[in-house]
């Protein structure tokens, strides 16, 4: 029966979880699961996996915008129907992978993809720049300080050549989050683009009583800048909060908890760049990314300042790092003062940690290099 709003609990199905992934394995994957011997990247965007049985699984990886229409999904299904027995998969970085069980089927698949304009760019493998893990931005969230889809498109356009090639010292993971909730991977990516505010929240005393649980707004603040207060609204004294602007560092947590404390601002808001994070344990331990550019303006629709900053860091790294070295490993080997000098990024006080455990990030040694970064 169709859903009956007068009787919402009738015929209700719940707690069934996702369908088991094994239902969607291509036959060659189902057969050889757990028995793979080796793999190889034969060209940018194309991988082959060899199984103990001698079977081969050829994978073609294509970029995707993550935010996509059902029309595009149908087109992906058509491609999968035509070449892959109706099977496909999405990666953890929101690329799409088409798999075939025979080398002879690869070229027809690549030709088909190429015939569809720029919709299905092949790449994202090996030591290149793969898809950008990103967030909602102005498309759907209420707490962003910048957009997600727009900035990502502008950056990927400029770096497109690195998506379709494998000529960097190591893979470079770029991530974007539109506020410092950091949904996704900005806290641990080679290059991270992060939306930031620069102005304290405004308090709407006329709304706050009905829409806020005041103790939550107060405890949301990492710096204790929000305090209980009283205000007069329509001649009536009400309970509200006040913000010590000298203490506020514009994180926006109080707004997440309290809708009457908005802080988004077209001139104040913009983008910070962090670099040097990684998640793998290969060679060095995982690292958090670190702030190197405190502010770039929001300049839709193409964000030229942000695009230029990302490209500059990427290409300076590409020209200087050793093989297999991630951006964070490179920066730590040459010293962060050299990172700033080589990338020609002005070092500002905003990069000096001043939050609680800050002491460990300062230099407690006489070992350093003279650079032109600090004059």
């Amino acid at each position: 029966m169709g859903y009956d709003p007068a009787n919402p609990m009738a015929d209700r199905i719940t707690d069934i979880g996702p369908p088991h992934y094994s239902k969607f394995h291509p036959p060659v994957v189902a057969k050889n699961k757990g028995k793979w011997l080796w793999h190889e990247i034969t060209q940018p965007g194309v991988l082959v996996h060899k199984a103990e049985s001698g079977d081969e699984c050829w994978t073609v990886r294509v970029g995707a915008a993550r935010l996509i229409s059902t029309e595009l999904i149908y087109e992906m299904c058509d491609i999968a129907d035509a070449h892959c027995d109706g099977f496909l998969r999405f990666t953890t970085r929101n690329n799409v992978e088409f798999m075939v069980d025979d080398k002879a089927k690869v070229q027809p698949l690549l030709d088909d993809l190429a015939s569809r304009g720029n919709k299905f760019p092949v790449g994202g493998t090996g030591a290149g720049v793969t898809n950008i893990v990103h967030t909602q931005g102005w498309v759907h969230c209420h707490t962003p300080a910048t957009d997600a889809s727009g900035v990502v498109k502008a950056v990927m356009d400029e770096l497109f050549d690195y998506f379709t090639s494998m000529k960097l010292p190591a893979q470079v993971r770029i991530a974007l989050a539109c506020c410092l909730n950091m949904c996704g991977a900005v806290h641990a990516s080679d290059i991270a683009i992060l939306g930031v505010h620069r102005k304290p929240p405004m308090i709407d005393h006329s709304r706050i009583t009905g829409v806020c649980e005041l103790p939550l707004a107060i405890s949301a603040c990492p710096l204790g800048a929000v305090k209980p207060a009283k205000a007069t609204v329509d001649g009536k004294e009400i309970k509200t909060v006040k913000v010590n602007n000298e203490r506020c560092m514009f994180c926006g947590n109080c707004y997440t908890m309290c809708p009457a404390m908005p802080l988004a601002d077209p001139d104040g808001d913009g983008i910070a760049i962090l670099v040097g994070g990684k998640v793998s344990n290969a060679r060095s331990a995982p690292k958090f990314s670190k702030l190197v550019i405190p502010f770039l303006p929001n300049t839709p629709p193409r964000w030229p300042e942000t695009v230029a900053a990302v490209k500059n860091i990427l290409e300076t790294y590409a020209g200087d790092a050793k093989k297999y070295e991630r951006i964070g490993e490179w920066a730590e080997r040459i010293g962060w003062e050299k990172f700033f000098e080589k990338c020609n990024i002005p070092f500002t006080i905003k990069s000096v940690d001043d939050y609680r455990l800050a002491y460990d990030t300062w230099r407690t040694t006489t070992q350093f290099k003279y650079t032109n970064a600090i004059k």
Binding site: P8, T209, G210, E213, L214, P215, L216, M257, C258, P259
Partner: protein
């Protein structure tokens, strides 16, 4: 600002049907109205126990209780609270009790 009319009352609400002026505007007709939209057939003593617990805690502390505290004070496990309020303690019970809409990454 959207308003909802019910049994001759007029309530200021947000787009999710939560009272914008909070508990001051809440009365028995509001409970009757939410009962309709939340798919609750008959209001029992157990429903009232949850609503009273929420209102009492909110008046005293200025926040809605955490789910574990609501279970402890009412004696109802979470499963029972969902049986009483199919939309759950936040969207169902807090709305009926006139508490502010839950915030954060919900």
């Amino acid at each position: 600002m959207p308003t909802i009319e019910h049994n001759g009352n007029s309530y200021n609400c947000d787009e999710d049907g939560f009272l914008l002026n909070g508990m001051d505007d809440m009365n028995d007709d509001w409970i009757d109205y939410v009962k309709g939209v939340e798919g609750i057939a008959e209001l029992t003593d157990e429903h009232h126990k949850v609503i009273d617990a929420l209102r009492e805690y909110y008046k005293k502390n200025g926040i809605a209780p955490m789910v574990r505290i609501l279970s402890k004070t009412t004696g109802f496990p979470l499963k029972r609270i969902y049986e009483l309020f199919p939309s759950g303690p936040g969207k169902g019970a807090c709305k009926m009790a006139g508490l502010p809409k839950p915030t954060g990454c919900v």
